[in-house]
């Protein structure tokens, strides 16, 4: 875009500035409109699952409902507790929203990238990590011990699930050989646009782990302890009302949207799909955008489906799930990803592979033998690991402070 503007006659620095401003505006607008659409989408979808129609009064099919909600939140009183730390209390939602919007900078919309960074994956991970700061600021700045406890629990959840989330991206990086999102998308373009990573055993497990960890990062059921209103310790958002609360809500949905986009990019091939390359040019770009949006919203639909079905985990079960179940599996997944990469691409490092199975695959010729062996081996490793860890982590025992006999003996009852 900057080049186009320079050609029109603007000075080079001016065209870059204008291009950046346009992109930022588009992202902010697109993100907000996307978030509003997501709230509508979630409410309608969950209603149909519950045998009822969702909001359908405000505007055609209820599409203007998010606007009426926005007006409602803006007209509510914005009360700050008297003893609260005013600056921290004010900045907490800003930090959370800022972190979310930042991550939108590198998400490819179909084949179009706002900013193409070499280390885009690292950028996404880094901005995702800023959420915990915002949450801690919210909990601390409210001067409410329950908000503080809720904030600390929320932060514990976020940082515990960040590790599996991040490490689930590593296989993708290994398989591609680069951290740039553009290259990751391009690497999934084989087999007529359907060579997505999710179709390989490594990618499948990685997708499941990344998606589950992202559910927890986005505080969706079954991991929505921080915003659960039926848990007794109120969440970190207790002392927020009015527009500040709406900003938390906004950042929550935008981060879920961002996560859906990123999952679609990393595992489901981004804008790739049958026919994109064939069309090429503007039409191809448009088709890739449509594919991209379809994939993301299908992923969001799965999030909504899980939300409608599944009760939430208790906080200790949640932490146990992250550390004892997800973490070993991501490590195993990295191991199998390395086997995958070795089997498919190593010829210089391990010449015996070329001797036994032939040359590695190229863009035009696929070495089916090597591919088959890679698939079988990684499948065995992944499935075996899943079964083993499930067996090792099952817990059917509840801790009880006193046993019943002790209780009766102590006269506690």
């Amino acid at each position: 875009m900057a080049d186009a503007l320079t050609q029109l006659g603007f000075a080079s620095w001016l065209s870059v500035l204008i291009a950046s401003i346009i992109k930022v505006t588009l992202i902010l607008v697109g993100g907000s409109v996307g978030m509003m659409f997501l709230t509508w989408y979630e409410r309608r979808a969950i209603s149909y699952m519950q045998d009822r129609r969702g909001p359908n009064r405000v505007g055609p099919q209820g599409l203007l409902q998010p606007i009426s909600e926005a007006i409602k939140t803006m007209t509510k009183e914005d009360a700050t507790p008297r003893e609260a730390d005013r600056i921290v209390h004010f900045l907490a939602p800003v930090v959370m929203l800022g972190a979310t919007v930042l991550s939108f900078a590198v998400i490819p919309w179909g084949r179009m990238f706002p900013v193409d960074l070499n280390a885009a994956v690292l950028f996404v991970i880094a901005t995702g990590g800023l959420h915990s700061i915002g949450m801690m600021m919210a909990g601390w700045g409210s001067n409410n011990k329950f908000a503080l406890l809720g904030g600390m629990r929320g932060v514990a959840q976020l940082i515990s699930y960040e590790i599996p989330q991040v490490m689930a991206i590593i296989p993708v990086v290994l398989m591609t050989g680069s951290m740039s999102l553009q290259k990751i998308v391009e690497a999934q373009n084989d087999f007529g646009g359907l060579g997505w990573f999710v179709f390989s055993p490594v990618g499948l497990l990685g997708f499941a782990l990344f998606f589950t960890a992202s559910l927890a990062e986005g505080e969706r059921t079954p991991f929505d302890i921080p915003e659960a209103d039926s848990e007794i310790i109120a969440g970190y958002m207790t002392e927020y009302s009015g527009m500040k609360f709406a900003v938390f809500y906004l950042s929550n949905y935008m981060s879920n949207l961002a996560v859906c986009f990123i999952t679609a990019t990393l595992y489901l091939g981004g804008g790739n799909g049958p026919g994109v390359d064939a069309l090429g040019g503007f039409a191809g770009g448009l088709l890739s955008l449509i594919y991209f949006l379809l994939k993301s919203f299908a992923l969001f639909f799965i999030m909504v489906l899980i939300r409608a079905t599944v009760p939430r985990l208790r906080v200790d079960q949640l932490m146990g799930f992250a550390w004892k179940f997800l973490l070993p599996l991501v490590l195993v997944n990295i191991l199998s990803a390395s086997f995958w990469v070795a089997l498919l691409r190593w010829d210089q490092q391990w010449p015996q592979l070329t001797e036994w199975f032939g040359a590695p695959s190229t863009a035009d010729a696929t070495n089916w033998g090597r591919l088959a062996i890679a698939v079988v081996l990684t499948l065995l490793i992944n499935a075996g690991a899943v079964a083993l860890i499930m067996r090792l982590t099952n817990r059917n025992v509840q801790k009880h402070l006193y046993t019943t006999d002790e209780e009766l003996a102590l006269g506690l009852s």
């Binding site: 007794i232 310790i233 409608a308 009760p311 509840q398 006193y402």
Partner: protein, 370 residues
């Protein structure tokens, strides 16, 4: 060893999951619960005192408002108490009608109670709304026959106020066609769901001896392993003519109470089938015509009548002094008695489990506070 401090937290009375205005003073040590004190009385409406001022008939609509989910059952129990006191006979058809209404109430109560508990657990009201759909169908039928959906005011002394006709029976049969699908869907959705198992198994264990010591009744007692059901122990209305089983749990945790309630819904379905089949024709009448409802004067004496309400044993104790209203009127509310076991059920568990355990007892504050 680190010495931890105990923290006293107040849950409620204004809280989305306390099933009404109910307050719990909870003492926690870290995350583990050490003590729990229930505080209630926020919904006290002087019901028993009003029962001494009202005549027996005038008191019937007030009994609707005790367990406001199951007004038919409250009416039934109160009518039985007065009928015992005054020595009034009830024709057979009226007994069958009362049984049908009771079992429909049981189905709708368990459906909504479990739906609410799952909503508290975080399964965003999906199961609740499916249960509400069945409940709406049943409430429509209550409205047809008694005039109101919830505050039915349906039983009179010696029968019921209005007979059920063919429309009612047809619609009831249609409703029963759909119920097994609802039961299957509900079971499939949640019964073996791993997260539900993780949150309900071995939580809130109430051992058998404690349950008996607290005189807990209803699904809570049966979940703890005691096979006691008033419909079998002291059959009233025409329950001795039906073949049905009583489900019993083993461990006495939340999961067992869940399973017991689902099983009870299926047994109620069987009772309904048999009741429709055995329903006598209209020759016997649906009300005892000799009873003067408003001017009913019971001879001096006392009577206690109890029914198996969906929440437990609902009993009405009446002492009469020969006039048209009671001298002493006491309601044995199952939720109130069951609540006394809450503290012991919750000790030693995490504080997040308290809400789940409370939901599994299935209380309604109208009964607890009267």
């Amino acid at each position: 060893m680190l010495k931890t401090e105990e923290l006293q937290i107040n849950i409620g009375p204004q809280h989305p999951s306390t099933h009404g205005v109910f307050r719990m003073l909870v003492t926690v040590d870290g995350e583990t619960l050490v003590d729990l004190k229930p505080v209630f009385g926020y919904l006290h409406r002087n019901h028993e005192q009003l029962g001494e001022v009202n005549t027996y008939l005038q008191n019937m609509p007030f009994t609707d408002r005790l367990d406001y989910f199951n007004s038919m059952v409250n009416n039934h129990a109160y009518a039985r108490a007065v009928e015992t006191l005054a020595g009034v006979e009830v024709p057979e058809r009226a007994q069958y009608i009362r049984v049908i209404m009771d079992e429909l109430s049981r189905i709708l109560n368990h459906a909504t109670a479990m739906g609410f508990m799952l909503g508290d657990m975080g399964a965003w009201q999906t199961a609740l709304l499916w249960g509400m759909r069945e409940r709406e169908k049943i409430l429509d039928m209550f409205e047809y026959v008694s005039g109101a959906r919830m505050m039915c005011n349906y039983c009179r002394f010696g029968g019921v106020v209005r007979d059920i006709d063919d429309w009612f029976i047809t619609e009831l049969k249609k409703l029963m066609q759909g119920l097994p699908h609802y039961f299957d869907d509900f079971e499939g959705l949640l019964l073996n769901s791993e997260i539900l198992l993780a949150r309900a198994r071995n939580i809130g264990v109430l051992p058998k001896e404690l349950a008996l010591a607290y005189s807990v009744t209803g699904p809570v007692l049966r979940g703890s392993g005691v096979a006691y059901d008033i419909r079998k122990a002291e059959p009233y209305a025409v329950y001795d003519r039906f073949k049905f089983k009583v489900p019993v749990g083993t461990v006495g945790d939340v999961y067992d109470r869940f399973l017991v309630r689902i099983a009870e819904m299926r047994e109620s379905y069987k009772i309904l089938e048999q009741a429709i089949e055995q329903l006598p024709d209209a020759t016997g009448g649906f009300i005892n015509p000799k009873v003067k409802q408003q001017s009913l004067k019971a001879p001096a004496g006392e009577a206690y009548a109890r029914v198996e309400s969906p929440k437990g044993e609902l009993g009405f104790y009446l002492v009469s002094d020969g006039s048209g209203s009671a001298y002493r009127y006491k309601v044995r509310a199952p939720s109130f008695i069951n609540l006394s076991s809450l503290a012991d059920m919750c000790k030693g568990y995490s504080i997040a489990d308290v809400v789940v355990i409370l939901g599994s007892i299935d209380i309604v504050m109208g009964e607890v506070d009267r």
